[in-house]
Symmetry: C2
């Protein structure tokens, strides 16, 4: 089952060298999510043939233009292509007002319902849960209210070892074995010991998206050990003062965060327009945390392969 | 002196096949204008190396998303790149409110001043005039308030025929000759007859931008004889019912308008996403008005060459 992140935008506030502003498509067990939606996201979704009408939840980290200005166009396109399913929208307060005003002035009523959720940018908060995963906000430090999002798969079912399964076993017993439990008869006698018939579940993956933020250790515990961390790296260390002033991070800081939190892999993005070549940012981060990659538009990182 | 139109977007409401939504850059005698500003316009301005910080006036035909959703991103980019000059913005009422709300939620104050002008979409109205040109609104018929824009150069100066100019002539007399007048002495005696020393002025060009509109003869007289007409052609004639329903035009109708108004050249655009190949739209229009071209992104039509 996929646990994948597709990069749609890699640029900071100023799009440059053909790089688009922030947006990522996340597919977790065929649940379809969009994180941030900078200008041009709908064109990127089309270019990379993402099934964007299937996106059920959109998460906007903050209301700087490079993180949400593509949303209105995407909503109109979904509408024109006859979307009918609800769309859940998580964002700091204000986006509902912006959308409502733009709909009013275009005299439009969308064919589908938008369910607005105010994202809590000050506290870690569970904002989504179903049988397969949870999503929490990650409070970040930026010039305006801003949060990241942490996607965690729940424990997956134990896998039945078919070769060992007795032919007379009941379907209801298989369901119990998948949940990891032993099976007893009505009198409490052990019928099937789980470990004899199952293999341990597949790994449950996790992804932390840390959008625009100053370096902060307040997030370290929350993201500890995630399989994949996206952390912005707008600047290089030589522009650290600029990073501090604008509440952004350097590539080195992103890597330090990854190291401190003991994550598996780091991807960095949100590159300033001052950097035409990105290799130096990568090298700066890798000098601290070797398992770092640059976000590259159109590339998909699928953890479950 | 340039009188040029650069196409930045050619798509209708749904961007498709890599085509961007409506936007055109107009350079008239080194005055820099933008007409409409669909999503991604700033990327297109960069891609085609347009000096976008020099744009002094932006004209938005109407508040459907595909005609203005790129504006906010462009404003932020101008701001980040330290623009200080005023920017004049002409649009149907409402855009000021949308911009103001988005600035509020991003906690931003632009470095430059936006001068908002409500465009009159119901009457032909002079909205800009300087020593070289005038700009008027063209009332159009669409689902919401919508207008086009008519750019007309004023009469240009007579050109001095240097070979015929007496060496003793005064500078102030040259200025008078350029204005097309004869020169007399204090007693009223003819000193220099204009036609002996000058060549007729260069042609004064005109461009009519007719954005989203149903076919309407109410515009015909206003655009009569323009050198270049942009007329939307969202559909082909076989989709005429759809055009009527959505208050758009067919390629045939655009061509009929060009023919009726006796314009020199026609360019058609705002193509529906149903058309991957555009040649059939061109052929349909050319069957009525041979001097028709498709708008192609990145191409510049310079009339003064």
């Amino acid at each position: 089952m996929p646990f994948s992140v597709t990069i749609l935008g890699s640029s900071g506030a100023l799009p440059a060298y053909g790089r688009f502003p922030s947006a990522q498509y996340v597919n977790i067990q065929n649940r379809h999510f969009l994180i941030d939606c900078g200008e041009g996201t709908q064109m990127q979704l089309m270019r990379y043939q993402i099934p964007y009408q299937k996106i059920s939840h959109i998460f906007i980290s903050h209301l700087h233009g490079d993180h949400y200005l593509g949303l209105m166009g995407l909503l109109f396109t979904m509408h024109l292509l006859h979307r009918e399913n609800d769309l859940h929208l998580y964002a700091p307060k204000g986006l509902d007002e912006i959308i409502t005003l733009q709909l009013k002035h275009s005299n439009s009523t969308l064919r589908f319902n938008i369910v607005f959720h105010d994202a809590d940018t000050l506290n870690q908060k569970l904002i989504f849960e179903d049988d397969a995963l949870t999503i929490e906000t990650i409070p970040l430090i930026h010039k305006i209210k801003c949060c990241g999002f942490l996607f965690r798969e729940k424990q997956k079912p134990h896998r039945i070892d078919k070769g060992k399964l007795p032919s007379e076993i009941l379907l209801q017993h298989i369901v119990i074995l998948k949940s990891g439990k032993d099976i007893h008869d009505d009198k409490g006698n052990l019928l099937y010991k789980n470990e004899n018939y199952t293999i341990l579940p597949h790994h449950s993956y996790s992804y932390a998206y840390c959008s625009d933020t100053a370096y902060t250790e307040q997030i370290t515990e929350q993201i500890r050990g995630v399989d994949l961390l996206y952390h912005e790296a707008t600047f290089m260390e030589q522009e650290k003062d600029k990073a501090t002033e604008t509440k952004h991070s350097t590539a080195r800081q992103a890597a330090a965060q990854a190291k401190k939190a003991g994550v598996e892999k780091l991807i960095i993005g949100h590159f300033s327009a001052r950097y035409k070549e990105l290799q130096p940012l990568l090298e700066e981060a890798q000098s601290i945390f070797p398992k770092t990659m640059l976000v590259i538009e159109g590339e998909t990182i699928d953890l479950d392969v």
